[in-house]
Amino acid sequence: MSTSAYTSYLTDKLGPLPFCPGCGHDPLIKAIDKALVQLQLPPDKVVIVTDIGCIGLSDRYFVTHGFHGLHGRSITYGCGLKLARPDLTVIVLKGDGGCGIGGTHLLNVARRNIGITLIVGNNFNYGMTGGQHSVTTPTDGLTATTPWGNVEGPMDICGTAIAAGAAWASRGTVYDKDLADRIAEAIRQPGFAMLDIWELCTAYYVPRNRFKKKDLYELIENCGLELGLLVDKPRAEYSARYREAYETGKKAARPRREVEPAFTNALGRRTGIVIAGSAGQKIRSSATLFAEAAMFAGLNATQKDDYPITVMTGHSVTELNVSPTAIEYTAIESPDCFVVVSDEALKKVRQRIGKLPETCTLYAEESLELPETRAKVVRLPFVRTARKIDRLSIGIVALAAVLRDTGMFPTDAYAKAISAFQKGEVADVNLKALEAGIQLIAPRTEA
């Protein structure tokens, strides 16, 4: 790009701007050009993003980068470009229609303060599709879709953006003498800045409503709105805040939980374990550590969890497979071990317990009233045992008992997983729970 002064940002290769005679978009685009000439920004560092609507015809007339996207979504592309390249000047042009269909993006860009400039060419109706009413059509206004007058109230675009937290917002008309200056001022803002520019649609709104320039000013007054700069409260732009938050808040990356097999195992075939408990009984985390312990013993493992969306209440049922061979189909049709430690869980798995095969061992909290089952039942005081350590450790206690009873791999592997992947007090409590779970079985086997 040449370093000499930029005298115009509009190309002369496509002929004059394409708008209808008297359309407000024409002076608006020319004012944007004047503002860019004031600012002398390199064209390759400027992106004009346009929405759908007549204003969407304008990006190609600029010698800058041009991006013409879907209806209502221009702000999202502008934000993506700006987040990716904070050094770029991103100017989004949209109409009042785009502010309706893409209203949420207006609210959210204002709230986030992403440093794009939004210029709304607000002419109270959809000029491109035949003059239907938009979110800014005045009450009683005649349009293709309000043949007896608009019964809806108009949205105040600036007021809406300001309510959402816009750092800089200005309302004007295409007749403003200082329009180019004001656009330049908006572009200079490091944060989000928006201009709501009222104008005439000579194809539709003007003839249908005999609407003239003086009516534009009357309308603004009748709506109780002010012209000019409405808010100027600079605050840190999004990308700067993002970096700063990360730099001040960053923690060391969580270490990977890597396992190197260090124990042998006695598992001849794939084994399916179901553990059914309640939220807060560390069912899922105990099962993950159990699986990692199996991996320390050279086995493969899979884990699936089932719990309600209200994660701090209700059942928590986990399915574990451990296997000396690759685990393909992960569902457990016929469990080898089934653990149930709470009433809530029992309600959830009652039917399944009724269908357990004879080959399955059911490890049940001793206080539970079990349904009839063909499984071999082992009743153990999981809750009472856990309560002596930390009432939450039921998952570890129960799985430690299962491991000791089945001998599928050494309990030392479970201790290894706990020490490797948990820290301080949590590890201490879980190691105690592991030992307590082992002891639930150990005396029986010694006897």
């Binding site: 790009m1 390759d44 560092k45 992106v47 993003v49 190609r60 010698v63 800058t64 980068h65 041009g66 991006f67 013409h68 996207g69 879907l70 979504r73 702000i75 999202t76 592309y77 502008g78 934000c79 993506g80 470009l81 700006k82 987040l83 990716a84 390249r85 050094d87 770029l88 949420t104 993006h105 959210n108 990308s239 970096r243 990360y246 960053k250 990356a253 990977r256 939980r257 890597e258 396992v259 190197e260 097999p261 993950t288 699986a291 199996a294 991996m295 493969n300 493992a301 899979t302 884990q303 699936k304 969890d305 089932d306 969306i309 685990i327 393909e328 189909y329 992960t330 569902a331 049709e333």
Partner: protein, 374 residues
């Protein structure tokens, strides 16, 4: 050695970061939310940017903007989110935007069951937007493949400048498996082709219809243009039927003519097989078991597992079908990919679906029984 106990979603994140993904935008939805969370945590550490958008439309809008500014972008959602992405996917195809879109499928339609697995979005992904132009769709079966195919998805997106879908499943995304990701061999990283300076830059430049245009960033030293409207190679609006058809032929040819290069399949064929079990995704794991059990009973059976679903790996499918009298296609939907198999099957070959959508996995037993192999 890096044996870990990971869920598929974590593996997708690892694969994306390994592919040097440096932008993510997404919106929370079960069962894909852990991708959003991990990307937002890990991206700044990798020098990238991650943002939770106000909705799915903004998520993909941010991604398209960032991709056109030169970033390698990822977004992740589930079926309901893909519905909201739909219009912007058309834009990404039109603009030849490299991007990777993860769909961790859940039971639909509509809100369906958020925490239940499914494979109901197969044809939806292929025909995801108006116009019917091709996209690339990959489908992993395991946690390890979630990593590998996420990485490969970025390579394909860069190479073909097209949205690439990674179609996983709650049953993979939220299931943990013991896996050593470091042991998985990956091809070299592919970066989008940049203009070489000998021609004026046109955003959609090609000679042969299947050529993939060079890419210059928004904010780069060549003026870039992008448009949702019917356009010419310069991204200027056109109403010329000849130019419009030329562009449509280009979008189509660059993907469809590359079908053999994009095709990834796992073949386990027997010379004298009478039956072929053709599967993809998590169901292929049950198919593997079923095939082994059928062979143990003396049935001559071949297996073909598709990792690329679209463009349809037609050569591999036709090759695997040669000589068989029956093809069994198990799917966690009511028979979506079976349509592709049926149109490729020679006359006289019976194509049998094993289908269910009750949120549970199809078991090896169901494949054997309903496929007539038991």
């Amino acid at each position: 050695m890096g044996l870990e106990f990971l869920e598929g979603n974590e593996a997708v994140v690892r694969g994306a970061l390994r592919a040097k993904c440096d932008f993510f935008a997404g919106y929370p939805i079960t069962p894909s939310s852990t991708i959003l969370q991990s990307m937002l945590e890990l991206l700044p550490q990798a020098g990238g940017i991650g943002i939770q958008a106000e909705d799915e439309i903004a998520s993909i809008g941010f991604c398209i903007g960032a991709a056109m500014a030169g970033r390698k972008v990822l977004t992740a959602t589930s079926g309901p989110g893909i519905s909201l992405y739909s219009e912007n996917i058309g834009l990404a195809i039109m603009g030849e935007t490299p991007m990777v879109i993860v769909n961790v499928q859940r039971q639909g339609p509509a809100t369906g069951s958020a925490t239940k697995g499914a494979e109901g979005d197969i044809q939806f992904t292929r025909w995801v937007t108006s116009g019917g132009l091709p996209v690339i769709v990959l489908s992993p079966a395991t946690v390890g493949e979630s990593y590998e195919l996420a990485y490969r998805a970025f390579n394909l997106a860069e190479q073909y400048r097209v949205p690439v879908f990674l179609l996983t499943n709650k049953e993979i995304g939220m299931t943990r498996e013991s896996v050593d990701l470091d042991a998985i061999a990956l091809p070299p990283l592919v970066e989008r082709k940049r203009p070489d300076g000998t021609r004026d830059y046109l955003p959609h430049d090609f000679e042969a219809a299947s050529d993939v245009p060079a890419f210059s960033d928004f904010g780069g030293d060549r003026i870039a243009r992008y448009t949702t409207s019917t356009h010419d190679k310069g991204a200027y609006l056109t109403a010329s039927p000849a130019v419009i058809q030329e562009m449509i032929d280009h979008y189509t040819a660059k993907v469809d003519e590359a079908a053999d290069d994009i095709a990834m399949v796992r073949e386990d064929l027997q010379d004298d097989a009478e039956v072929l079990v053709l599967s993809y995704g998590v169901t292929s794991r049950s198919a593997d078991v079923a095939v082994r059990q059928a062979r143990a009973k003396g049935v001559k059976v071949s297996a073909l597992v598709l990792q690329t679903l679209f463009p349809v790996p037609a050569k591999a499918i036709a090759g695997a079908m040669a000589g068989v009298r029956k093809v069994i296609v198990p799917e966690m939907n009511m028979g979506q990919y079976r349509l592709e198999v049926e149109r490729l099957a020679p006359s006289g070959v019976e194509v049998v679906g094993v289908n269910k959508m009750d949120t549970t996995l199809i078991s090896p037993g169901e494949i054997l029984e309903q496929g007539g192999l038991s």
